[in-house]
Each structure stands twice: as C-alpha cells, then as structure tokens.
Symmetry: C2
Subunit: 190 residues, 2 copies
Amino acid sequence: MSADAATKRPLRADAQRNYDKIVQVAAQAFAEKGTGASLDDIACRAGVGPGTLYRHFPTRDALLAAALGDALADLGATARRLSEEPDAAKALDEWIVELARHLRTYGGLPESIATALQDPSSPLCSSCQPMTKGTATILARAKEAGAVRADVQASDLNALIGSLAWAAEQRGDSDAALRRLIKLATSGLR
Amino acid sequence: MSADAATKRPLRADAQRNYDKIVQVAAQAFAEKGTGASLDDIACRAGVGPGTLYRHFPTRDALLAAALGDALADLGATARRLSEEPDAAKALDEWIVELARHLRTYGGLPESIATALQDPSSPLCSSCQPMTKGTATILARAKEAGAVRADVQASDLNALIGSLAWAAEQRGDSDAALRRLIKLATSGLR
DNA sequence: CAATATATGGAGACTGGCTCCGCTTTGTCA
DNA sequence: TGACAAAGCGGAGCCAGTCTCCATATATTG
C-alpha cells in the first residue's frame, strides 16, 4: 500500500510519508464511515493539516481512487482469470457476483463510482477501468458463446450491477440477499 | 395542493397558511434541486423562519412526504387501474415502468425512499404504501396467471425497480434508456 | 377587549468542505 | 559543513447547511 506517483519529480521524503499515511488512514475511514467520511477528520487522524490533504488529493474522488488502489488491482486480476475460464457463461455469472461484492467495499461506493463514471476527468473514473473493461471482455465472450443475447450492452450491464450493489447496501442486505437480487435481475421475471 | 392534517385540533389560520406555503415551495425546490435542496432556503423562499419549517416538518422526509402527496395519490390510482387490467403480465410490465418513472419525480428520490423504507417510523415510509402495496398486488396477480416465477418476492422486485430508477438518474438517462434497462433486468440476460 | 394558548423567526451553535499564505523542512551545492 | 532556494506544511478562517431555543408576536375565545 505505497509507492506511486513516481511520474514527475519524486516527492520529498516527508511529503511521501504524509501521502502514504493519508491513504492508509483514508482507507480505514472509508471502511468505517463510507465514502462520505469527513476529509478534515482523515487529515487530522493522519496527523496533517487539511491543506496538506487537499494538495495531495484535490478531490474526494482522488483520495478514494488512491485508497481503492489494491482492491482494484485484485479485481483486474480476477478479470484476467475469468477471461481464461472455459465456460464463458459461468465466467460471466461469477464476474457479476465478484464485481457487485467489490462495490460493497465501502459504504456509498456504488454511488461514488456511478458519479465518477459520468466524468471522464475524474481520477476515480480512470481507476475503474479494470471494472468496465472486465465487464466488456467477459460479456463479449459470453455473447460469442451464445450464452447471452446479442443486444445486451456492456454499459447497461455495468449500470445494472452497480445499481444492484447500491440496492443491497441501502437495504443492509447480506451477501445471500445480494445474490438473490442478482439472480432475479439476470434471469428475469419468468 | 392543500387541506390536510385535519386530525387533532385544526391549525391556527396563520399556521395553516404557512404550512401550505412551505409544502408548495418545497415541491418546487425539490423539483429544481433534488431531495437534497436546502431546507433553510425553502423556509426563506416560503417567507418563514427555519424554526417554523422544522416545527411543521421535523425531518426532511416529513416535508418530502408532504410535497409528494398528490403524486403518490396518482400512483395509487394507477395501481387500482392496473389491478383491473385483464392481461396480468402486461399490467405488471406497465406498473414497473410507471413506478420507475414516478421515482424520478425528484432527483435523489430513489435514495430517499430506499432509506425511508428501512425505517418504519419515517413518515415517508407510510406515504409509500401505494408503491409497495401496488407492487405486491399486481405481482401476485401476475404470478397466479403464471406470467412470473413463483419465487419472485415483492420486496426484491421493489428494490430492483428502485435501483433501476437510481441508475437511470445517475447516468442522466432518457426515458428510453430507462426502459432499456428495465427490459434488461426483467427479461434477463439470455 | 383582555387573557391565553399558539405560533413565529432569527440568532447562533455545530459540522464539514475547502483555501490561502506565512512559516518550516528538505535537498543541494559550494 | 553551512546556507539558500524550492518544496511542503498546517491551521485560521470563510462558506454553506442543519437544527434549536426562546423572547416576542398573533389568533382565538369568553
């Protein structure tokens, strides 16, 4: 959970220390209070002033993207693994569940991400490529295999998964309830 | 858009005037700025102090429920009409679209309602009976007609519809895009 | 036209976001 | 090693929003 922003001049040692500490504290705060956690509070808990936090992370999304770092890398790995899975239909089912579960890492994450996806300039938007790309490739394979209707769009599927994760969060659902919701939405009403 | 709260002692004339004005202004503000509109601002625009607004409506949800009054009555009427519709499957389809559309009356409404539904003491929760009951009865009829799997639960269907309305809002979707999303979720992937 | 219950409004406490700028620390180079 | 410039810091302070408290004002009633 460190080493990044190696582009441009490397940060001064103290600055790098602060950066890392902020990300670490932020990850914990988001886990506890959701994506709406107070940024001033995070700065305080990291032992820096608000100014420092805002210079490193000009927006909440920037901090969120940094805090999410590892989790998103994991998701990328999962996507690659499922792209190899022989059974394309099974791979898609698994991907959907996995993605929905990831979206519950922090409270409020589905909303943060949905908003970010609307704004290409958001750092969170670029960080989410593992998600969007993953869905696109795995869905494409499932279509080729004839396991999915040809008119299903990747963007719609992403929106659907996000919205289910959101609903599950709103209801305080268990993992089982989330799966039930996913099954309802993916197999339809009849 | 007036006359209510006739239970208990009737409000003093000036109080009733203020009450009505607040509801009217609130409906407009929510329409413009979403359910998160500033309450102090609503009070100000209605020509009353914040204290007055908060005495009539102790929570945002209380005000929201009042502002939604007419719309919810309409929805109740729609539910009754669709309960008569001979084709139970068609009735359900229509209900789903109608409900999702109603949830877009104000920005942020799906979230406000989803939260309220978790809290039986919320005034918004009771106001939403037309929605929940409507889904329950229309779904039951569709099941009887064999148009829907028997294991589909009304609560899940409600959550699903709400989440689709939420997703459509996040993406700034047109009505057509919302319908596409609904079709995807109700007819499944294959 | 009191007397009284009812209702008002706005000052102000509090929370969180975010900025600005004088001060401190670090890295470098002689 | 010492000194200087660049890099970084932090917290005071402003803004917006929520919500409360209570001295004051107004409607109603006999």
